[in-house]
Each structure stands twice: as structure tokens, then as C-alpha cells.
Symmetry: D3
């Protein structure tokens, strides 16, 4: 039982409406078929659990040849499906959309992880996710080897530039540390000076937002010299192109919206055969 | 009243959880603020109606300086917002996600439309949309000047390759034409030969899937010579790079998943000021 | 798995509330029973798929002796059910309501279809359906041999008298044809003159609303003489009494609200036996 | 605030889908209009509260010229509406469906009430209602002057023939009286003999199901002679034709599915004018 | 199939959020375990059906050693569970919360029932229940041997002090008796005088609210002498301490919010073992 | 706009069903009234925001004389309400249930906070909350001055005894620290020995579960001597009676289920007056 089955069913309803009028007019009710979901590009597959949950809910037999997180290449069969042709065709698009979007994110994540982990640095996502689909995008990040970062506004404090327009940074951290002892307090800073204040005020995580390589280096040196316990997160405009220049500095984490806002879908198709 | 307000509220719940623990710990309840949503890239804005509906639902005053579909440039202010600082910060991310994803799609669409319309050709989307967010992605396509194509499996018949594995093309069209006289019957064909059969069988729309420029030209000539009434849709692997080569042939429509699966988000930010 | 199971469950909740206080106070938990759903009138059965989906969801064994669309006569057993007496009695009313309402519509539809098809004419429903129950009423129309017509406001354009108060008919058709190439454009006209304009403007479907037999004949002659491709739909006040006079003229389709707004429920009952 | 607004909005979603593609393509966004909902048949109006709630939710100004329960005649204006033409046209069908179905039931109810109340007898509905729409059908019964009877399986005990297959009538009543002291216990009986047992066992309500006029008379005499406190409800196959023959005997209540399963919709239309 | 499974799943979602990040990080996916739910206090168990429904929905095998309503003592095993360790740990808290809250109420109810039934008096609950959880609290009352009283505002009339501020008691009862013949009419009275009026006006149930023992005795004597058929319910500030003084007078029912607003949870724990 | 308004409306639906049949039968539609919600016990009020949101949604004017978190005494007026008598009476119970349950929890929390804060110690809740009502119970804890602790299984890691049956404590902490850098890692330990391992392994929070006063003292000494950064949380069987003995030792936090599982509702009533 997938705990998100109700949500997966809403995705189907979105795509289905009344019924698949093509399939129900064109095919008899009792035709059985075999189908394969085949990769058309290279990358990391994600969404296999979700695809299976939906297919099996309609009594289709599934065999996963690739599990979430495995590498795939063009031509690789990811899932074999067997059962009612009408059910397979009704589910085709929603299953492919899940797999292609999630695999696209997992693939983009894995590529950045591959660079960062050479330096022992983690890649993390952000809250820049498609509304209504965040759970699945965060899960794809995890499958790609990334850190999911905050799920919502309530699972960690993150004091940002817009907060600091209205309240002093030190005071903000002091207040935030009172709020809930099970939550970490993170602060986004825009300069080396702000970083110092945040570190001194005892933030659990300091996010260096849009700092230059030199500035980041400066902060990391400071952290090491003074023995601050804070986690240092680098963020702001990170792409595969500039990632290594920051990763080399060995901050704890590099977070990026790139893996959700600029990841392309990983292309796949469903091939059906008579049975 | 936005007819999708309940859905927009679910997007907020997804991002909010219990509450915005940062803002509620850091800011007093009664602080008022001004904010601007500012473009950081060039493109076409979309999602303004949705953003306003959500912001106004929380009693924030909004003024749209750019309406859905207008061109924007880096630095342009799209929306001015005034009211409770806590409410603005609680809604910031979900509003930006709506605007950035929708504007990204509108922008990608507009760029392809700009090329295609020189030849009097329409650009259309597909059903390759993010699960749970299709309405908003389709709306962004429309805002960008594209045709929304099918909303769901039930609003037009579309006989595809996988149907044709199980049933003969002529027979499929004949059956489909019986199903509902208010729905068009479209057929996806993979060769000139199949296109001929589909045209002869009276399909309302014939989609040429992954045909070469030469093959498309061949079919279009045929259509003209024999006076078929069918709409010719070209599809399969269309990108900004190869679009013009197909558009020049003047099919009625070119459809592409590119504008939803490969569109990058259009970057924006929210800037807050004390009031 | 019925794709509408969640909706069927809401129908049960509507009828159930907390619990079936009669059955749970009167019968022990472990009593098993057999039951039959028996027709008490003549007609066409519809709703069998939905009834089975709900009964089987509560682990009751079902055997359908009549499938959706079959003729039934008083005394005919439609479904045999076996299992927990409490479950059968809890579901009795909601299952009968589904079957009786849907069969009533299927029966009324079939009666009109029987007349119209002698002349090769289709019978279609309208959007005059009970709020919250449209899917099932449309399905009953299809089971009765009718055409479901539009499901919603978004799956075909239908320009009606109230639109034409505000916009010129030719202009309206021209605008509508731009909106979405996968949707047909239908126009409702109230006179022969309007019909001519609509045909000339290229409407896919022209609905003759409340035209006399003579007027309809006039329009059909015109269509034939001038070779218009449009589908001609006759509508407005069609009942079993005046149906044949219009059907004889052989329009493509006759649509009517009669089959949903004036169809009587087809009477049935559930008979229980000890096991 | 209508407490069922969320449900009314779901009815709109059912009819709307993505958007009213006709109106949004044919009319500019800012056109204002006036509209009237006009009766096309004689009867009792119901659903005005619901219609207003939905219309006003979309910022349309409404003036009810007829309130729920008033008599209407062909040509009577029920509601005047003013505001966005697009909003009026988007809501037209769902508002008419609510008003026409509810008014049809109220009208059928009122006609039976008119006969029964001459003898001081109440007319009541049953649970034979359209799934998903019961609240509104029950409300229409009340508006027509009828008694709503049970809302659900949990608000009164009703021991029926199928229960009595499995348990003795006296024992069933005894058990049911234990279950919840705030709920009445009703028993459906199929003969004078059963009626005697039910009366003796202390049922709060005895429903005489499908008894002849003579049998009903027999039971009522018995009730009077022996001073039973039970309410006597006559049911089973009651129509406007045979109603008076039973009403004359002056049972307390006559219940009938006729008013929900055989009531025709009361015809209305919406007439729009430019403003 | 538990008819409330959808609601039980919402309870899980409330506790789960994205996923059980502890268990999924700490345990491999395929670890199997055994678990026991063990009582840590003495009382009456309730919620076993609900716990099983949820556990079995996630493919865990369950064996109930104690059924709803059975006495339990510290150390008693209530449920044995076997299957995926991850699933057991994900469900642990929500299952314990259901069982502990429901058992607490059943236990408090049983203790009051034990006193009252010596005098042939029923104990009933009230509508003072936790919002969102009423069904389960009412069910726990029934499991503890109590009467569930009204489920909602619609299943029996209850005229209270605040109504009587605005309308005369006799008139209120007269109006209420017209409303729905399947519903009982109860009146809350605050004095012997009001009780007399209510009895004379024919209330089905008279609730003596906050009357002294002497006053209650006075009313009961009156009822007996004059042969009123009304049920007498004593209410207002009833606790285990003063219950017997009222029960001795043998009213029909004593209702109390104590069993929902002051019942402590019955402590339990889940013990896991490797398999 | 209360972000949880949809949930508050579900609470109303739970209490309302079809309608308030008492009020709608007994009172005319247009009666206006004033009402006061009055405390009948001493404590801390909570739920005022929620009560107002619901009342104002039905167009009732509200004036809060006590804000969330204020002390109240018997006789204190908390809210004044003005408007439709029917609306006030329809909402009475659900509003009182919200206020009484939430205030009960806030009151119990405040009492424990009053003791603990003398020693600079925080009081925190647990996940022992009523299913379906957690948000409101957690909010009541915050209003009472307590720490809300984890909202769900996903907002902090908490390794408990049942995890440690299956995996070694050091290994568990090591794995958990990999999972998400924005989440804290807490470990529940049952002995001084386990506490040492957890501290050494770098847990962010160590929960001492059911340790004696002496054992807790031992651990705290250790933490001080060795300079561990971990937060020490004392838990297990904490009541107002034994709280001070633990608080004196000055751990960082004491968490307790007492404030949700054993808090009594704070009694209130609504008093209505004619206007």
C-alpha cells in the first residue's frame, strides 16, 4: 500500500475525466496486452514505486526491471506490465508523466551529486517545486542522492532576506531559537559580515546566498578557525557549470533550485504488444 | 472569485504545514509591509490571476502592473502587495512557484509561437504535464499564445500507435466516429501510408508523428490535391531548433511537449519593504 | 477497480451517516445471507458495474445475471449477492438507488433510440442532469444506446441564444474556431435564417432549437443541396410523442432533456434469504 | 453563508471542467449583463437559496422575486441577476439544474400535500433519492410542505421486511429499543397480523407497506380502539391517483417515493440582456 | 472493509507528513518484525476494529487477543502484529492514539454504567466531543455500554435553555413536533415548573438539567402519578461521585459529558521484536 | 482568513448534518440575538482565533474580551457575539468544543510551565493527540506556553526503543544524521549507559525516558563535565506531582503526554439574549 495512493488516484482523475473515450470506443473490454516502459534517454530512474502502485491498483501485473535510483540507458526496459489493454492505455500517460518528471529530477540531481561528492559535499533541493507535486519532486531528489532540505515552512526555521528587512539578524535568531527545540534554525545571509553575525548568534545552519567563491572561502576559513558548529550551506545561482568551483571549497551542503526548475524530463515511452 | 481557489489553497497547505514557524517566531503579528514581485529574466508573465486570487484571499491588497500574457524584462515589477507582513511571507514561495512555473511555460510557448505564426501555423501543447498541476500548465500555454490541445482523455478521441497494435486503423476510426458526435476524432500516424488511410477514413485530425520534413510535405501536398478537410498536426521531437523547418510547410498545427517538459522556470523574486 | 469508487463511497456515506443503527441493533454481527436484486418493471438495466464495485468493496460475492444494457422484465433477477447480512442491508438502498435511477434513464433512452434508429438518427442527452450525479446519468444514456453529448462546458464549444444576445453569430463562430483545434464548434440557432448563417460560417454542428418540422426540413434540404459538412442536431421539446415526426426528416442527431428530466426510476427490490 | 457552499462548488466543477470555453472565446472579459430566470411551467419554486449562494459567491448581484415555496406560473421571473456576463453564463446550467430538479420535487410534493392535508394527513418522502444530491431533494420536499422522513440510516430505526427474514418482529423491536433512546423505532409491516405484533411490542411508528385500503382501515380502527400511541404511516405504491383513497382513512402520515422518483423537472430558462 | 477507512487514513496522514524519516533512515526496507500492543492500565478496550483496519490496510497480519469491550489489565496483550517493521513503526503512534483515547472513554463509561445499571438506569454521552473525532468517541461510549445520544444537530430535536430565551416552551414543543415525525422531541428544563410544562406539552424526552436530587425526585413522582410517557433524562454536572445519588431515583437515563471531557487516556504501549 | 478554515468547516459539518432541526423549527429565520461565551472555571483561554474565524464566516459580529493565552476566571466573558439567532445556535456546540478542549490543554500546560520555568526548564508536548485534531491541540500547548515538539513523523528524527530493538544505537544515529541536514536527530534512551552512547554519537537531542531523578542527575552532570552540546529532554510519566523533582535538575526540556491525555476540558457556556 503506497501511503500516497489517494493522491496518485487524483492524478489519474485529472488525466481521465469521464473515461478514456478513445480506448473504450476502439477496443473491446476483454482484450489483454503486454506492455513495456522503455527509456529513451540516459539517466537515473525515479517514480517506479508510484507507477507500480497505480498500475497494481487496477489489477495489472507489474515487474520492475529497474528500481528507483538505478541508472538507465536508451532502450532499457524499466517496467513490464500485463493485463487489461484498456487499463494499460488509460494509465499510460499519467504513469509516464510521473516517471519522466521524477526521473528528470533524479537525473539532474545525480549529475550534480557526482561532482559534489568528490569533495564530500552534499547537494540539496529547495522549495522551488511544482505546486501539488512537491512530495514526488522531493522524493526524486532523494532518489538521485540529494538531500530534500525543508519539506514545508514548518519543519525548520529559515530566516531569509525579507525577514531581515523587518528585524535585526541577531534578534531574529534569538527569537527563533525559542520557538521549538526540535527544529533547527537556519539563516540566509548575503555577505560575509552577516555570516559572522549569524555564526556568533548560534544559528544551526548558515546559508551563504549568492556569495562569490572568495567570500564563501572567507566564511569557511572563519568557521574552521573559530570552531563554529554551524553547517554551512552555499546557495544562489548554482548550476552544473559553476558547481565545482564552490564544491572545491568543501562547504557542508550546496543547495540549488536548478534540479527542480531547470531539469528536463527524461524521455520514455510505453510499447504495447498483443497477448 | 477564482473557480480554482480551493486548489490554490491546497497548494498553500502543501507548502505551509502547521504554520510558517519562522515568520510567526520572528515577527510580531501586527507588522504591515509592502512587497513587490520583480522579474529577474526576460519573457512572458503568467499566473498573475492565480497569485492575486491567493493573496487577496488573505486580505492583502494587490496591484498588478503586468497582466497575464504581457512581456516582462529583468527588473520589471509584476505585482505590488500591501498588508500583513506575516501573510505576505507565508504566501511568498507558493505565489512565486505559481508565477515562475507558469511564466516559464508561457515564455517557451511564446517563443515557438513567434516562429510558427510567421507561417500561419499554431503551436499546441500535449498531455505531458506535471501531475496535479495540469490546469495551470495548460492555462500558461494559452497565455503564451498556444493551443491547449486535449485537456483529458475524454474531450477528444486520439487513436495512437498503441491502439493500432490491437486494431486496424480504418476500423478504429470507424468505431471512434460512433462514440460521441460532439468530439473530434484524431489519429496519430507514423508514416505517409498510414496518413493516407487515416485521411481516407475521415479522421478530423491527422497527427504526423515523427515524420521527416519530406514526409510531412508529401502528406500536405496530398491533402491539398485531394481536398481533405482534416486538420494536419505535426508532432514528435519538435524543438525551437527544428521548428521552422516544419513550420515552413504550413501544417495547421505543430504540437510539442517541449513547452512543458523542457521549459525552464522564469526567475522572479519578492522584495519586501517596511511600511 | 472502478475508477469512480471514491465517489461511490461518498454516496454510501451520504446514506449511512454513523452506521446502520437498525441492522447493527437487530442482527448479530456474523449472520450470513443471500440476496437477489429483482426487477419490478420492464426496461433496460444500468448501474450493474457500479453496484458490483460497491458490494465487492465490502467483500460481498456478486453474480450479475443481467449485464448493463440488457433488457429486463418484472421478476428478473439482476444480481445475486452473498455474504454478511449486515453489509448487504447497509448497502441495500444506495445500490438500489444507483440501479433504479440509472436503469430509468437507460430505459427512457432506449425507447427513444428504438424510434430514431429506424431512420438512422441518433438520440443524444443534454447537460440537464442531477448535480453531483452527472457521470452516472451520462453513462446510463450510453448504456441505453444514446450519445452522451457534452460532458462539461469545456469539451466542445456550444454557442447558445444567450451568447448571441451579446455577439453576432458569424463573429462568435469565427472566434470560437480559434480557441482549441481539438474541440468542435456547435451553434444553437432559433430560425432558418440563423441556421444559414451558422452553416455558412463553418460551424461543425448546428443545433436547430425549437424549430417546426417544416423548418427543420427546410434546413436539411439546404444542407443537402449545398453540401455543407455540418452535423445537424434537432433539439427543444422532443418527447416520445413528437420524436418520430422529427426523426423521419433524418437529421443526424436528436437531443433531448426528456431522458434525464422526465425519466421515471425503474422499480427494483432486494430480497434477502437466510443462508 | 450557505453551509453547503462547498458542495455547490463541487456541482459547478462537475459542469465546468477547465473553463467555459465557449464564453471565454466568444465574449470579452469585461462585458456586463442582466439576466432573469423565468418559469416555463406552473408549480412551486425551490432551490432559490442555493442558486443565490452560488451566484453571489461569484460576485453577481441577485434579487429573488420568488422565494422558496412560492407558487410560480409560466412567465414568472424568479431571480434577477446582474454582473459579469461570463460569470452568468458559466453558472447558467448548474443553477438551472438545481432550480429545476428541486422545484420539480417541491411541485410534486405540494400536489400530494394539497390532497392529503384536507384529511389532516402528512405527506413524507423516502430515501429513494439521487445519490450525491439527497440533501437538496429532501430540502425540496420540505419546501413543498412534505415531511423529510429519515435523512440517513442512523437517525431513526426502521425495521424492514428484509430484517424480519432473519429475526422475529417482536424480538427485533425489543432489541432496537435498547439501541439509542433519542431515536424512534419504526417497523414496516406487510399484513394486519404483523401490524398487531408491532403495535403490541411498542413500536413508535408502524409503517403499513402495500396494505389494501381495507387492511389499513382495519389497523387504524384497532389503534383507536386499543389506544396505541404509535404513529401510523401508510406506504407502498402511493401515487396522486390512489392517494385520496388512503388519505380519507386519516393515517398520520403517507410516505411515497413518487415525489422523488417520478417527479418531472419544472422547466425554466435564463434570459440574458445586454447592460 | 471498515466504512471509515478514508478517515483513518487521514489520521495517518496527519501523523506522517512526508514519511517516517526516522524509520526509513534507520531500518532497511525489508526487515520483518513482530509486535504486541500491551495494556499498561486496567479498563475496557476500544478501538480494536479501527486499529486492525488500519494495520491490515498496510498488509500487516493482526490477531486481536482482546475484542472491543473486553476488560483489560496491565500486561494484557491486546493485538499481535506481524509484518514489515517499517510499516509497524509508521503506524505505531496513530494506532496507539486511537486505542488509548477510545479505551479511556470506554473505561470511564463502563465505570459509570456499572453504578447506574444497578438501578436499571442508562448512561448516555453528549455532543461534547473532540472536533473531528466524534464518530470514534461515540463508538467508544457504545463499547463501554453507554447510549450514544444524539450524533448531530439533525437526528433529534433538543430544545435548550438558549432556545427558551427566544420562544415559549409550550410553543417551542408544538412547533418542533411538526418538523419531522421520525425524530423525537427532547426539552431541556431547568426547574420543576418547566418540567411540568414540557411533560404536559408532550415532549418525548424531558432532560432535567442541573436539578437537585429532591427536584428530580419530585418530577419522577409526578411522571409516575400522572402516567406521562416521556423519558426522563437527568443531566448537568454528573460525575462518578454524585452519580449514585441520582441513579437511585431511577430516571430512565443519566447523561454526562464527564466520559468524554474528563476521561483520561488508557495507557498502552507497542513492543517490537525481531522476527 | 484562518488558514484552517476548511478544517473548521468540517468540524461544523460533523456536528450539523443536514441542519439544526431544533433551531430551524423553533425560531423564525430573521430573529437577531446577542450571545456571550462565559468561563465557568479558572484557567487559560485558547481557541479564540478559531472560534472567531468560524463565527465570522457566518456573518456574526464578534468581540473577543479575552485573547488566546489570557487568564480567565469563572464568570469572565470571553467572546461577545451578535447576529442571526439561528446561526449562533447552529455554531454553539462546535465553538464551545473548540474552546473548551483547547483551553483545557492550555490550562494544564500553563500549570506545568509555571513550575518548570522557575528552574528555566521548558515544558513540551508529545504526539499523543486526538486523531484529526492535532493542529489545534499543539496550538493550545503553544498558547499555554509549552513547546510543540514534533508535529509529525517527518519534521525531526526520533529514534525510539522499538528502533533500537532492530538496530544498534550508534549505527542508528550515524544513519539518521545522513538523512536530511535540516532535521535534528533525537534519541530516546532508557538508561545512563544508553545516554552516554547517544551523547558520544552526536545526537542533537537525548531524551531520557523513564529515568529516575538520580539517573537524570547523573546524565546532566556528565553533559556538563564533558561539554556535550546535546539538548537533554526528560520524559516518561511526568505529572504535576513529580514535575518539580525533575525540573530542579534543570534539564533543557521536560516533555509530557499529561497535558493532552489527562487535561480536563475547561468548562464554558454560551448565554443568549434577545436583541
Amino acid at each position: 500500500m503506497h501511503p500516497r495512493l489517494a493522491e496518485l488516484m487524483r492524478f489519474l482523475e485529472e488525466d481521465l475525466g469521464y473515461e478514456d473515450i478513445t480506448t473504450s470506443s476502439v477496443l473491446p473490454e476483454d482484450v489483454k496486452a503486454l506492455a513495456e516502459i522503455v527509456a529513451k534517454a540516459q539517466g537515473v530512474v525515479a517514480g517506479v514505486e508510484e507507477a507500480k502502485a497505480l498500475l497494481e491498483h487496477f489489477n495489472l501485473r507489474c515487474r520492475a526491471l529497474k528500481e528507483d535510483g538505478e541508472d538507465i540507458n536508451p532502450g532499457d526496459v524499466i517496467l513490464e506490465i500485463e493485463g487489461s489493454a484498456r487499463a494499460i492505455l488509460m494509465l499510460e500517460r499519467v504513469v509516464l508523466n510521473l516517471l519522466m518528471r521524477m526521473s528528470g529530477i533524479a537525473t539532474a540531481t545525480r549529475r550534480m551529486v557526482a561532482i559534489a561528492q568528490r569533495y564530500g559535499v552534499k547537494i540539496a533541493g529547495t522549495r522551488k517545486t511544482t505546486p501539488g507535486f512537491r512530495y514526488f519532486e522531493k522524493r526524486a531528489i532523494a532518489i538521485g542522492g540529494g538531500d530534500m532540505h525543508r519539506f514545508r515552512l514548518d519543519d525548520a526555521v529559515l530566516i531569509k532576506d525579507n525577514h531581515l528587512v523587518l528585524v535585526d539578524i541577531g534578534e531574529a535568531i534569538r527569537r527563533a531559537k525559542q520557538v521549538n527545540f526540535t527544529k533547527k534554525v537556519e539563516v540566509e545571509v548575503g555577505s560575509v559580515e552577516e555570516a559572522k553575525v549569524a555564526l556568533e548568534a548560534g544559528a544551526d545552519i548558515v546559508m551563504l546566498d549568492n556569495l562569490s567563491v572568495e567570500e564563501v572561502e572567507h566564511v569557511l576559513t572563519l568557521v574552521e578557525q573559530r570552531g563554529y558548529q554551524a553547517i554551512i550551506e552555499v546557495s544562489g545561482g548554482i548550476t552544473p557549470d559553476n558547481l565545482e568551483s564552490y564544491a572545491k571549497l568543501r562547504p557542508h551542503v550546496i543547495s540549488t533550485g536548478y534540479i527542480t526548475t531547470r531539469a528536463e524530463w527524461l524521455d520514455m515511452s510505453l510499447r504495447l504488444r498483443k497477448r
